[in-house]
């Protein structure tokens, strides 16, 4: 069975792309071995303390806490993209593994299929 890597590169609330990417990851994890890699502005999806009630969009970041329960194997992010935004992993609402370039390239190599959102 093919393993799948989901790559998230969009910030959370400016469009629905991030939310629809998460939907795909949760579905994927029901079928096969899945991991997720946050790159670029995608790392902003992980920031703790998102509050969208007044905005009227769905606070799907709450679902990230369930990724391990869904069996998502590795939850990783781009360390260079994290640092470029002045963030570190303590800003995140879940435990995430920051990877350098070599680590990210290895993660891509070790999965059979890559879906980007």
């Amino acid at each position: 069975m093919s393993s799948m890597l989901f790559v998230f590169s969009r910030p959370p609330h400016g469009s629905i792309n991030a939310q629809e990417g998460l939907d795909a990851l949760l579905m994927g994890s029901a079928f096969t071995t899945c991991s997720v890699l946050f790159v670029g502005d995608g790392v902003l999806q992980l920031v703790a303390g998102q509050s969208t009630d007044a905005l009227g969009t769905k606070n799907f970041s709450l679902s990230f806490g369930a990724l391990k329960d869904y069996g998502v194997t590795r939850i990783a992010c781009s360390m260079p993209d994290l640092l470029a935004r002045g963030l570190n992993k303590s800003d995140f609402l879940i435990e995430v593994e920051p990877l350098d370039a070599a680590g990210m390239q290895a993660l891509i190599r070790h999965h059979d299929k890559v879906l980007n959102f």
């Binding site: 590169s9 790159v39 781009s78 370039a101 891509i108 190599r109 999965h111 059979d112 890559v114 980007n116």
Partner: protein
């Protein structure tokens, strides 16, 4: 070998750390504008997109112009495809 596709200039920022030495890159759609700047890796660009934007003869060496059939061949030679957009 992993094949990366980039369809807009901003897509390069997403994947610049992820392109390994033996990987290949295909520029398509607005991604072909990246061919106007010097790049650190070898690049193919979809000919139709380059022609549509008036960029024939304006891209930096060594951008190679390819057709969709070449794009398909590159996909079959690659282990997997990563699309950056």
């Amino acid at each position: 070998m992993i094949l990366h596709t980039i369809n807009k200039v901003a897509g390069l920022a997403l994947c610049q750390h992820l392109i390994a030495a033996d990987d290949k890159v295909v520029l398509l759609e607005d991604g072909v504008y990246l061919g106007l700047q010097p790049l650190a890796f070898s690049i193919c660009a979809i000919r139709l997109d380059v022609e549509a934007r008036g960029l024939v003869g304006r891209l930096k060496e060594p951008v190679e112009l390819i057709d969709y059939s070449d794009f398909v061949s590159l996909c079959t030679e690659a282990d997997k495809i990563c699309s950056w957009f």
